[in-house]
């Protein structure tokens, strides 16, 4: 992870760490904080705690997003401190709705310069974001909304399993990860398990991200905590609730970073420090019916 972040996340880069609630790679964000990256433009539908941490740690210059809350537990206070008070630095916001962000990444992945959608009429969002434009259909004359392609420098995608070439398989919620990876110049795949190519090949329809677009593969078990990995460990909902208190208080926030980020060398030490708490989150078995690929 150390090396992947060093090589593919540089000061000033545009990055996207995707995963909608599911498979959010906190291990990568912590490494970015540890390496004290600066002036990043960070893109995500839901900044979630992961970008709250990046923002509070001073890594971020600009946020491109569609919903900035702590899901089920209130606001993101580090983000609000930056926006409302410029602490630790003021950040620029570029704001869409979910569908707008999905459309931007889809256009980026398809190397289309824009994506059309039936949206935003009557909303104030286009008024505050000049990148939401309109386009007339050449067949019906209808006016549709259009958003520009988003092509980040680097995408970081956490997968349940990948082979050493980065062919990555994800199940459960798949969000917008495929589009984010194809849209980006580089993709870092982080995986709970590195498996042999034959496991990937046993179920090719599960492959969400092909190795050919992957720049680095990192093995990082438990790399999503406090987010979750279906089939591996549950979401740490208690931590999400506790984060409300931590992020609300600048001192508690900084102490959290000291203890859980700067004070640790890597995710391995994080897991060690978590200790027995991890067992509480481990997934029970609920296996799918296998299917036959023979002919």
């Amino acid at each position: 992870m150390d090396e992947a972040v060093r090589r593919f996340v540089r000061d000033g880069d545009v990055i996207v760490i995707e995963g909608f609630t599911h498979l959010i790679c906190f291990a990568a964000a912590h490494e970015i904080i540890r390496q004290r990256r600066r002036d990043l433009t960070v893109c995500r539908l839901t900044p979630d705690l992961i970008y709250d941490q990046l923002i509070g740690a001073g890594c971020v210059r600009k946020l491109v997003f569609s919903w900035a809350g702590n899901p089920g537990a209130g606001p993101l206070y580090a983000l609000r401190r930056a926006v409302e008070q410029g602490i630790p630095n003021s950040i620029e916001l570029e704001e869409y709705s979910h569908y707008g962000m999905v459309a931007r990444l889809t256009a980026g992945a398809a190397k289309l310069p824009f994506y059309p959608l039936r949206n935003y009429m009557g909303s104030d969002l286009p008024r505050v974001n000049p990148l939401i434009k309109t386009i007339a259909c050449p067949f019906t004359g209808e006016e549709l909304a259009a958003v520009p392609a988003l092509n980040p420098d680097t995408a970081i995608i956490h997968a349940q399993r990948a082979d050493e070439n980065g062919n990555a398989q994800i199940w459960g919620l798949i969000g917008v990860q495929k589009e984010a990876a194809f849209a980006s110049r580089n993709t870092i795949v982080v995986a709970e398990e590195i498996v042999s190519e034959s496991v990937i090949r046993s179920d090719p329809n599960r492959t969400l991200i092909p190795g050919m677009i992957v720049s680095a593969v990192v093995h990082e078990p438990f790399g999503c905590h406090p987010s979750f990995a279906q089939g591996f460990y549950d979401r740490d909902n208690d931590f999400y609730v506790r984060w409300r208190e931590i992020s609300q208080n600048e001192e508690l926030f900084n102490r959290y970073l000291e203890e859980w980020v700067y004070g640790l060398r890597d995710r391995g030490e994080y897991v060690q420090r978590m200790g027995a708490q991890i067992d509480r989150l481990k997934a029970r078995a609920n296996y799918c019916e296998p299917v036959n690929y023979g002919y």
Binding site: F20, E84, L125, V128
Partner: protein, 253 residues
């Protein structure tokens, strides 16, 4: 709330009221919290074939615990299908398959416009709120929209500070004029009463037991219209309450 029947909280009443609006076989784009409870209640009592879709991609979820977030793993396990967000927004929502969308708002105005973006000026906000998420497109594209919101003078201004998710914008004809595919808001359920829309404007149609028109006026930022057929909201039945309080509970709401 104090009535002759079983005791219940305002939230429980709101959940029951929302559940009764759902018709069997409908497809509902559902958020967490009260809408989730309403849908589960409706599935148990009124609309067994209701299909729940979460913007996270889970379709036909059958959660075995109360989902805390819209992307809870319990929404995936044993669901009927999991789709990408591209599919959810393009094919389900924009594709016109969503009968009902549930929305919440920090502010809602007389035309049913919702604000979840900022209090105050956008560039110099007094309070920065989370933003749209999927709400803007749900408001525009779902066939019918239900809003569940606590009511106060601050949350019911005449005009929201920012239209995140358009209702009827500024009058009955606005949606049609702008070519919005969905039908817009049909009901707002608060802790005081239920509101429907007439000529694109909110209209008090039922008061919750124990609540008064005066209370409603005190907690509304404009001269609210009152239906000539104003009724009292039906009470939760014991069966409804039993289910709401059942396996999932109503902790934290």
């Amino acid at each position: 709330m104090a009535t002759d029947g079983p005791q219940f909280s305002p939230q429980e009443l709101m959940v029951c009221q929302a559940a009764r609006q759902l018709r069997d076989g409908e497809v509902v784009f559902v958020g967490i919290g009260l809408p989730n409870l309403a849908c589960n209640l409706a599935r148990r009592l009124y609309a067994p074939k209701l299909v729940l879709i979460y913007e996270s991609g889970a379709v036909g979820a059958d959660p075995q615990r109360l989902p805390i977030s819209i992307g809870d793993p319990s929404l995936v396990t044993n669901s009927l299908g999991v789709f990408s967000m591209f599919d959810v927004f393009s094919f389900y929502l924009q594709g016109g398959l969503i009968d009902v969308g549930f929305l919440q708002g920090v502010q809602i105005d007389r035309f049913g416009n919702l604000n979840t973006t900022v209090i105050g000026d956008y560039q110099q906000p007094k309070v920065r709120l989370p933003g749209s998420g999927g709400a803007c497109e749900i408001a525009i594209l779902a066939k019918r929209v239900f809003v569940i919101a606590p009511q106060s003078k601050r949350s019911f201004p005449e005009r929201v500070d920012f239209i995140t998710s358009p209702g009827f914008i500024d009058g009955p004809d606005s949606r049609r004029r702008l070519g919005m595919p969905g039908g817009g808001p049909v009901m707002v359920i608060t802790n005081l009463g239920c509101y429907e829309f007439s000529d694109g404007e909110m209209l008090l149609t039922s008061l919750h037991p124990g609540c008064t028109v005066e209370q409603v006026r005190e907690n509304t930022g404009w001269d609210i219209r009152i239906s000539p057929q104003l009724t009292t909201t039906e009470l939760p039945t014991s069966e409804e309450l039993r289910i709401i309080r059942g396996s999932h509970g109503l902790h934290g709401f």
